[in-house]
């Protein structure tokens, strides 16, 4: 277990805010700009920053992040190179860094080796959406050995008994998927959906961060009272896609991220 992530959530709560958890795709649009993006997100007070390690077949991601992954891979991004970027970022940032990837690249490096390298790069936790607790025995041992938080997901359809299993296995925070869908799908927040989130939060021993489809400050504000943290990915990555220059990308991401973080004050 790694205390850093939970400390960040606790600090945000003390300030009367939900924690801000932005996502960037590692190596996109290139390694240097990615590092700038992480630094900028840290400067504006992000509690946790997720960095994606691209996979060729990202089952949980929508078109925006899928395309950014494809571009990063075409530009030569590899898990090792992105962990190096994270190591450089960790040296100068306050936020907890979390890696998000898929099981095959991790398996290829080896669970143990991946955990060792991630931990050595200043990473506090790792999210692997296609590695449920049942298949994660070896991974959990590796996380334990290297002081990494294995962050698991839960979804609206997750039965309560299964939620308990996920909570028992997981560390850092619980990533609650806001809806059935891939990342970047348009999110609606009817009262029953917010109520379901509150129920999960009440049961959870870990801080709960809600993600998938959060794109606007209004959505972030609606989630702030029912979640310990809010994850924003596709909406930020879209800014990078639309920018004409790396500098423009950093500015656009900073602008939107600043508004989103502001909206998380309860």
């Amino acid at each position: 277990m790694n205390p850093v992530i939970r400390e960040k959530f606790a600090a945000a709560a003390e300030q009367g805010r939900a924690a801000f958890v932005p996502y960037v795709t590692g190596g996109f649009p290139n390694a240097d700009t990615c590092l700038e993006l992480i630094t900028a997100l840290d400067d504006l007070g992000s509690e946790v920053i997720e960095v994606g390690l691209p996979f060729s077949d990202p089952l949980a991601d929508g078109p925006t992040i899928q395309l950014s992954s494809q571009r990063a891979l075409e530009a030569g991004a590899t898990p090792v190179k992105i962990l190096q970027t994270m190591e450089r970022a960790a040296a100068k940032t306050q936020a907890a860094l979390v890696a998000m990837t898929y099981v095959n690249p991790v398996l290829t490096m080896g669970y143990e080796e991946f955990a060792k390298r991630a931990s050595g790069s200043g990473v506090s936790g790792v999210i692997i959406p296609d590695l449920p607790p049942e298949e994660a025995v070896e991974w959990l041992d590796a996380c334990q050995a290297h002081g990494l938080d294995p962050v698991f997901m839960a979804a609206p359809g997750t039965p309560m008994e299964r939620l308990d299993l996920i909570l028992a296995a997981g560390g850092g925070f619980l990533y609650y998927v806001s809806m059935d869908g891939v990342t970047g799908t348009e999110l609606e927040l009817p009262p029953e959906r917010l109520a379901a989130m509150q129920k999960v939060r009440a049961r959870s021993s870990l801080p709960v961060a809600v993600g998938f489809g959060v794109a606007t400050p209004a959505q972030a504000a609606a989630l702030a009272p029912v979640a310990d943290g809010v994850v924003v990915g596709s909406a930020l990555v879209r800014q990078v896609h639309q920018a004409k220059t790396p500098q423009e990308a950093v500015e656009a991401v900073s602008r939107l991220a600043g508004e989103l973080r502001q909206a998380l004050v309860r």
């Binding site: 996979f55 060729s56 077949d57 089952l59 949980a60 929508g62 899928q66 494809q70 891979l73 590899t78 898990p79 090792v80 898929y102 099981v103 095959n104 690249p105 991790v106 398996l107 290829t108 490096m109 959406p129 296609d130 590695l131 449920p132 049942e134 298949e135 698991f152 997901m153 839960a154 979804a155 609206p156 359809g157 997750t158 039965p159 299964r162 996920i166 998927v177 059935d180 869908g181 891939v182 799908t185």
Partner: protein, 409 residues
């Protein structure tokens, strides 16, 4: 390549796999986003309940007999056997089923499950289009909405099947990402399922995907091997010495092999070598890949040193997939089945040979199994039986083969 002439059945037990979590040894399992977990549990439960329900079997039996045209004939290809020398070649004629390939066996079984689960919408992926056509067919039969994901490369190669699916009322959704073929069509279908899991059933076309798919697709395809086994025992009074099938992701091969696992029969799968194994442009995941995780299960996979999936290539769109089902992966590791490779050129020759010797135009996929007979048949005695799954018919491939032959001139 080597073929063991006398592989004896290892001491039983195969039919009990997978275990409760869907593992075949180190392969299989359930590597999916959490949203899909409840749906996979529901599907597993629905399958197990259906297995216990006589009404399910009765309806399935009726559809297989009166709709799909089962049992399919077992035909002794005497001209081909004579030309090749060696064992007697028997063809299990899955090409004669309704829609023209073994894919209908699985599509019928799964659509009945979908109806039992109250799903309103069916999605599928397709490569050659045979699974897409089978799915569009059963969706029309049951009055369900149907969407089929297909790579744009395959839509060009298999234009006839695109038209068939559309005529059957399905929407064919073009997939333009990655290889624009079966792998990416599968990825898109799974994402659709993640987003619409409440009212949608995903009819996966092969023995891949998360548990329980490899098990239940095997269950529905085992009719191939069960029938062939019974037909041979009745007609010839003996079992085959060898059973041969092409392997893309592996559904017709598992359907043929599974009922023979505990018999003294050599099981031989044939992978697509595309332009040749040394060119890197092939689909031979068992021969040239290594274990990894794709589309929800652990299996042999074509991948680069960082674990990114490599695009497969075969002229046969139905074999053009970078992984092979978890049970095949396991059968390879324990040496219960062996896997050979056949390239495009040899497959086309076998395609033409069957047409000329027997008056049967086979699918390019099945032609890979046929092509391997040139090496295999002479190794068997003249009274030995070699059972081959003729998994589909070749109408869909005639213009592609004609163009290929024209280019070779």
């Amino acid at each position: 390549m080597s073929v063991s002439q006398t592989s004896s059945p290892k001491s039983g037990g195969y039919k009990t796999l997978p275990d409760e979590l869907g593992h075949f040894g180190p392969y299989g399992g359930r590597f999916v986003p959490e949203n899909l977990m409840p749906a996979l549990e529901d599907l597993h439960a629905a399958y197990l309940t259906a297995q216990q329900d006589p009404a399910f079997h009765e309806e399935m039996e009726d559809l297989l007999t009166n709709y799909a045209g089962r049992p399919t004939p077992l035909y002794e290809a005497k001209n081909l056997s004579k030309a090749l020398g060696g064992g007697r070649i028997f063809l299990k004629r899955e090409d004669l089923t309704h829609t023209g390939a073994h894919k209908i066996n699985n599509a019928l079984g799964q659509v009945l499950l979908a109806r039992r689960m109250g799903k309103k919408r069916i999605i599928a992926e397709t490569g050659a289009g045979q699974h897409g056509v089978a799915t569009a067919t059963v969706a029309a039969l049951m009055g369900l909405e149907c969407m089929v994901y297909m790579g744009t490369l395959d839509m060009e190669r298999q234009a006839l099947n695109v038209t068939r699916m559309e005529m059957l009322g399905a929407t064919v959704e073009p997939v333009t990402s990655g290889s624009r073929s079966l792998k990416d069509a599968t990825t898109q279908a799974i994402r659709d399922w993640v987003a619409n899991v409440g009212d949608t059933h995903y009819i996966i076309g092969s023995v891949v995907g998360p548990h329980p798919y490899p098990m239940l697709v095997r269950g529905f395809q085992s009719v191939i091997g069960k029938e062939a086994r019974a037909q041979l025992l009745e007609r010839e009074g003996k079992l085959p010495k060898a059973a041969v099938a092409c392997v893309g992701a592996g559904s017709n091969a598992i359907g043929l092999f599974h009922p023979l696992l505990n018999d003294p029969v050599d099981l031989i799968g044939v992978e697509a070598a595309g332009y040749g194994l040394d060119t890197g442009e092939h689909a031979a995941s068992l021969t040239a890949g290594r274990p990894g995780v794709l589309h929800g299960s652990s299996l042999y996979l074509l991948q680069d040193p960082d674990g990114q999936i490599i695009e497969a290539y075969s002229m046969a769109a139905g074999l053009d997939y970078p992984g092979v089902g978890p049970e095949h992966s396991y059968l390879k590791d324990i040496d219960r089945a062996t896997y050979a490779t056949v390239d495009d050129k040899a497959a086309v020759k076998a395609f033409m040979d069957l047409a000329r010797y027997e008056g049967i135009i086979p699918a390019l996929e099945s032609s890979h199994a046929l092509a391997h007979l040139k090496d295999l048949a002479p190794r068997y005695a003249t009274d030995d039986i070699i059972l081959v799954c003729l998994s589909g018919r070749g109408d869909k491939d005639v213009s592609q083969v004609a163009a290929y032959l024209e280019k070779q001139k």
